[in-house]
Amino acid sequence: MRYLATLADAEHEIELEEISAGSFAITFGGRRFDANLRAVGPASFSIIIDGRSFDLEVVSDGEELVVASRAGATRLTLVDPARRARHTAAEKREVSGRVEIKSGMPGRVVAVLVAPGDEVKSGQGVVTVEAMKLENELKSPKTGKVTEIRVVAGQTVEKGELLVVIE
């Protein structure tokens, strides 16, 4: 998944892909980093990137996030351009035709929130997928009818695997 982060007035684009639980491939600044993340507290994380160890505390302050480490605190804001785009798109006009909802990352299906034949609204949650020990609700980009459901709760899915079809 792509993210746009602004720290110290500099915008950074980062591509994040979860290889396995807690292990990530990060593409950033033209370089690829292998990262391993573990939660060590409420909002504390131990991250090892290319052999370097980072111990980080995260707190939110208004629309900013403050990430504190031994070296000091960094303020940043986070935006997910992909989603933002999809969001505005959804607002502008109805997505038309057949829409396939796919998993953005490898993980486990926690819950299927719709049944075949259900009418769904744009932005309504259809499937919850767990990755990184945390859950993400996938939403329908359009108002329409659920025509296919390819997964069941508890099933593990690959990145890009088809979950639900809406028409």
Partner: protein, 504 residues
Amino acid sequence: MFKRILIANRGEIAVRVIRACRELGIESVAIYSEADRTALHVREADYAAGVGPAPAAESYLNTPRIIEAAAKTGAEAIHPGYGFFSENAGFARAVAAAGLVFIGPSPEAIHAMGDKVESRKLMSAAGVPVVPGSPDTLKGEDEVRAFANKIGYPIMIKAAAGGGGKGLRLVESDQDLASIVRTVSSEAKSSFGDGRFYVEKFVRKPRHIEVQVLADKDGNTVHVFERECSIQRRHQKVVEESPSPFVTPEMRQKMGAVAVQAAKAVGYFSAGTIEFLADADRNFYFLEMNTRIQVEHPVTELVTGIDLVRAQIEIAAGKPLPFKQKDIAQRGWAIECRIYAEDPEAGFVPAPGKIHTLRFPEGPGIRNDAGVYAGAEVPMFYDPMISKLAAWGANRAEAIDRMRRALGEFIISGELTTNLSFHRWIMTHPRFLAGDFDTNFIAQEYHSGTGAKSDDHARIAATILAAIAAQRGANNNHAQPQTRVAAPTGSAWRSLARFDSLRR
């Protein structure tokens, strides 16, 4: 020795006194305002009594309620800590009148040193050097001008009842005189209910150096060497150390002798501090005497091995000092950083709030005196101090190395802002490392947004990844217990949740 002592204070100093009591086998009584029911000092004490609403004037400055609490819990003595009633002769008298022992000097000594003008007279009479200044309070513009012309500009106008950096103004030249005189006297009236003021020669590049003294009720008086307190923001100390990198052995010996002289002049007993102003030529002048334990007492304890609070209690119980001047020596170097819930980027305004995650530094040479715990609230009603972090080293460089290391280990997060990164900045500043500073250091050197921009890609990537992980955790309802804890964060995350919903 006392069986039970009431501590008429809160926060870290109340906890400090409770610890001294416990080590002496004395039971401790905490008092608390309605804002402090679950404060650390209440949890740590053997007894606890509520003394009123949150505002200090109605609780920690509520003499009848405090005396009543002592009577009800059977306390035999009262330790005032610092601030609040610690330098209030009236309270000391009320304590005595109630048949209790005040752990501090006599009301007379408190009174004598309490008035800036009176104390300066007293001290110069006792042969203690004071900053050249008006022998008495001055009546108005003309008197001030006359005197200023005598000692020469720049001069300092000080409210007679002022203190703690309040009620003083610098006059660089004759033309600013009139207006400043008006401001000071009106300010003094409103702040202290006493419009009187006096004038002193203004010392350029002044260093604030103080000497700790201890005296028992038999008049045995010793000094416990100096503390360097020149690192100040808004006229308040934030970093202190002992010894002072500025003081020579000769100067140390002289300051110590003068301090003892000053204490004896007012028949002082208990722990006290003589504050001096030192100029670039190492002349030093009496500023004032603090007739109480100081916030920064730990650095003296670390280099001398003397427990000052324990000594206060033993002296109040009538015991003689267990040591003579020759038994007291400085060993190594100690530095203290005052960790406050305040925002250095915003002129050091207090920024209190709830603490979610908290991990204190530890290990070799580190001492931490905290008044809070994880989950506690730093209330908005009082001094927003979180803890006093002190580091001892065999020499100044090692002490600084350890302090820098400890500041890195200090983990605190929640709904408050701290001055931790400000302290990190100080501990790496060339002038601080060189010991080359005066009381203007921070005003001259510190500018908001000193945060260096990083081009360390791995670090930036880690920072962003942590932010993403935390954010996912926050939007997630079925997280595991641990993530739920992030809820203390509940409110902290609310704004984020909003922000997040926009994103969707």
